[in-house]
């Protein structure tokens, strides 16, 4: 019977971890707000929401990938390419609709291509997508000729439409849409259950009659599609784009947020809500550093350290269960 009590203890521990994330979020909010009361103002919260919107959308794709036992390090460059091609179309006097459709299509195709290569070659997705990342970066250089490109305020409406003068409702709805779609897909569809099965134990999934490659390609495609949506939000926020926008390391931020939110590298574990909590926490911390006017170089150090700590913690909690 001691067996039962240990499992009970472990279950409580697991719940605590999720709780822990929220406790940290609340703690950060209270402490920073005490130091600078502007932190919890509606204005600043909306700034945080805007800041996390792009990474948040990418994180949902990354979370789905990780849960399926895959990873894609080229999502940053896929998004930038989608944005660049949209800008190119607009600058060539194409319609905004055309630009959006082509952008999303390109991003989805790029995701699918990654998935095909990973599934068919059976090589390490980490290396494959790192290589593809450079390929896609090259594509955006070619299309943009390495220059700054303009969206001619075509997407301004997304940024400027605000309820009560502060809440950027359209921009947020992109993020909310992606989060809800991901959550339903993962938890409430056969596709999602099979994705979890593939990530949880690929051999088992194969022997249980699941076409493993098909689900891998699909999830890369979904992540690519999300990159296309993220590109629209990016266009709205910046109104201009350059190929080197990728120095922002979007894929790494998405990976960090997912891992902080309890999605593991081993696959099969993690939730969309968890990943979103991760995005929120990372967003709050980096905004807090700005609000507290901490040197931006120091900010880099903290961001990097968070990745390492998150990975170690997620590994520790895994080891505890064994």
């Amino acid at each position: 019977m001691s067996n039962l009590t240990t499992t009970q203890r472990l279950r409580i521990g697991l719940k605590d971890q999720r709780l822990l994330l929220w406790l940290i979020i609340i703690a950060v909010c209270i402490i920073v707000d005490l130091l600078n009361p502007r932190f919890l103002s509606l204005d600043n919260i909306m700034i945080v929401m805007q800041q996390i919107s792009v990474v948040g959308i990418l994180t949902m794709g990354m979370a789905l990938l990780l849960i399926t036992g895959c990873i894609d390090l080229s999502i940053g460059n896929i998004m930038v390419f989608a944005a660049v091609i949209m800008a190119r179309i607009i600058m060539n006097n194409g319609s905004t609709g055309e630009a959006v459709i082509v952008g999303i299509l390109c991003a989805t195709m790029m995701g699918l291509l990654n998935g095909l290569i990973v599934a068919k070659s059976r090589c390490m997705p980490l290396i494959i997508t790192l290589g593809m990342s450079n390929v896609y970066y090259g594509f955006s250089l070619v299309v943009s000729n390495g220059k700054f490109m303009n969206f001619n305020q075509q997407f301004e409406v997304i940024r400027k439409t605000r309820i009560f003068g502060v809440v950027p409702i359209i921009m947020l709805s992109f993020l909310v849409f992606v989060v809800i779609v991901s959550a339903i897909l993962l938890n409430r569809t056969k596709t999602g259950r099979r994705m979890v099965a593939v990530g949880g134990n690929e051999q088992n999934a194969y022997l249980s009659g699941i076409r493993v490659s098909r689900y891998k390609v699909l999830v890369y495609g979904i992540s690519g599609f999300f990159c296309g949506i993220a590109a629209i939000v990016l266009a709205a926020r910046l109104d201009s784009i350059t190929s080197s926008a990728v120095t922002a390391n979007y894929e790494l931020s998405a990976l960090t947020a997912a891992v902080v939110g309890g999605v593991t590298f081993e696959g099969g574990r993690g939730t969309i809500v968890g990943a979103f909590t991760g995005v929120l926490l990372i967003g709050l911390i980096s905004n807090a550093m700005t609000v507290l006017s901490i040197n931006s170089y120091i900010q880099k150090i903290v961001e990097g350290a968070i990745i390492v700590i998150a990975v170690i913690l997620s590994n520790l909690s895994n080891m505890k269960h064994q």
Binding site: N187, T189, R194, N204, G209, R211, G268, H321
Partner: protein, 500 residues
């Protein structure tokens, strides 16, 4: 009288409540070849791993050179002069023979390795054993037999007192095994004691000075084989022979016509052709030693691995089975042997695991909520008598027996017609085993058919209606009715009769 250099006394070791060794005592004299024989799971490997320090025993003591130890660890065991050569290949393919032999104990001066001195040492050793090998060749280019030599040499350069060889000839043809046997005799002449584990009884009788027989984790007897004349039949008798209460009594059931015929199944171009059939309501046992190719055969049959040839005829209709998905469509369930690696999502709940196969046919609609599936799996969950807090508990917190029940359960939920069970009860406790046998009986009573790969002799004998014995990928014998005895199975599985 010569004193033993190693004494193991009353060694007991359990895994998850299953006794692997039960008060085993054994001693080793200097320079002798001491063979350990026994069925699969008799405890041979466990005993060797206790001696090599890989496992620490629950109780008992190990005496080496008059010093007594409660348990050893790999470092201590090596210091005491005990070296083990495992079946698995632990060589570095891209290094040459000399480098491999001296991995971890390289000779060096000022941090630079002294290749020449190592090479000359290795070639001295080769001469002593009467072998010839080009020491500068890379290991990846060597044959399996040559790699085996390298493994043995690697152990010998450490100048051991006791050398443990675990199934050194299992992958070899007759000529190569012959050479290894001669080498083993050479080694013992150097004064090194050899503990030799093998399924090949003829080899054992040829080289052993003493033969210890293990059965169900205990020493049954120890033959003196100084004259190399212990009859094989006496050894096999000792290996089997169990009391009646270890056998499950299954209720009689009806067996009808053929449901499945497998014709000319060949795993690779060079493997032997295999044909067999399965009848409705029958439990067909696949017997054989570990490594006899039973799992490979089955995996090829259900399309999990590529096969060279083979026709599958289901209910008199030929079907194409090129992937597990297609075999599931045909109503064939494959309950895998390694539950952690192949059979379960450890981090997912019981419900999710139970419904993963049935998601295709048994659960309708595209949108699902696995928490609602708890009601669907209720029958299966009850029939299996899984001990868990709730069906939503994660599988990794369950005991081995309950995990194994979940693996079977996903196919019960799918309601397959033909169940292939690969070592269904390995490593699970007696209670869970009996639950399994009950479920299997129930299945065949309801007109399902079962193919059971098993290395558990009592299980094979009490459950099977018919037994096919497999050796080296070939069907060597079909046994049915009264002929299914431990003695018969062991005899055919071990090639005791082969050249007689």
């Amino acid at each position: 009288m010569v004193k033993p250099i190693v004494r193991m006394e009353n060694i007991t070791k359990s895994f998850n409540g299953v006794r692997a060794l039960n008060g085993v005592s054994i001693d080793i004299f200097p320079g002798e070849i001491h063979c350990i024989v026994g069925e699969n799971g008799a405890g041979k490997s466990t005993l060797m791993k206790v001696l090599s320090g890989a496992y620490s025993p629950d109780s008992g003591k190990i005496e080496v050179d008059a010093c007594s130890y409660r348990s050893l660890n790999p470092v201590l065991s090596k210091q005491l002069g005990i070296e083990i050569v495992y079946q698995e290949n632990l060589l570095v393919p891209t290094m040459n023979i000399v480098e491999n032999i001296f991995v971890g104990c390289e000779e060096s001066r000022f941090g630079f390795s002294k290749f020449k001195s190592m090479k000359s040492k290795a070639s001295d050793l080769l001469d002593e054993l009467g072998l010839s090998l080009d020491l500068t060749r890379r290991v990846e280019g060597l044959s399996v037999a040559e790699q085996q030599y390298v493994k043995i040499l690697k152990a010998l350069v450490k100048e051991p007192v006791v050398l443990i060889l675990d199934e050194p000839t299992s992958m070899f043809n007759v000529r190569d095994s012959e050479k290894i046997l001669v080498t083993v005799q050479q080694i013992s002449k150097k004064g090194i004691s050899v503990l030799y584990i093998s399924h090949y009884l003829k080899e054992v009788v040829r080289i052993a000075d003493r033969i210890t027989v293990l059965r169900d984790g205990a020493v049954v007897t120890c033959f003196d084989n100084t004259n190399h004349d212990v009859p094989l039949s006496r050894i096999t008798q000792e290996m089997v022979g169990r009391s009646i209460d270890m056998f499950y009594v299954k209720s009689p059931h009806k067996i009808d016509g053929t449901v499945l015929r497998v014709e000319d199944l060949r795993v690779t171009k060079d493997s032997p052709s295999v044909s067999f059939e399965l009848r409705r309501g029958e439990i067909l046992g696949l017997a054989g030693m570990i490594g006899s190719g039973r799992t490979e055969m089955i995996r090829a049959m259900i399309g999990a691995d590529r096969k060279f040839s083979g026709r599958i005829i289901l209910n008199n209709k030929e079907v194409s089975v090129d992937s597990p998905r297609e075999s599931i469509r045909c109503g064939i369930a494959y309950v895998t042997e390694d539950r952690q690696k192949l059979g379960l999502m450890m981090g997912a709940s019981i419900v999710e695991n139970l419904t993963i196969v049935g998601l295709m046919n048994k659960i309708h609609g595209y949108f699902v909520n696995y928490k609602h599936h708890v009601a669907l799996i209720d029958d299966v969950y009850r029939a299996l008598r899984i001990k868990a807090q709730s069906p939503l508990q994660e599988v990794r917190y369950l005991s081995g027996g309950n995990q194994q029940k979940v693996v079977l359960g996903k196919w019960l939920f799918e309601d397959s017609d033909i169940f292939i069970l690969d070592e269904p009860t390995r490593g699970i406790d007696v209670g869970a085993k009996n639950d399994f046998y009950g479920i299997m009986s129930n299945l065949v009573e309801h007109g399902k058919s079962i193919i059971m790969i098993s290395s558990d002799m009592p299980e094979l004998i009490s459950m099977s209606d018919r037994v096919i014995v497999i050796r080296a990928g070939r069907i060597v014998k079909e046994l049915s009715g009264e002929d299914i005895t431990e003695q018969n199975v062991i005899t055919y599985a071990l090639e005791v009769n082969a050249n007689e």
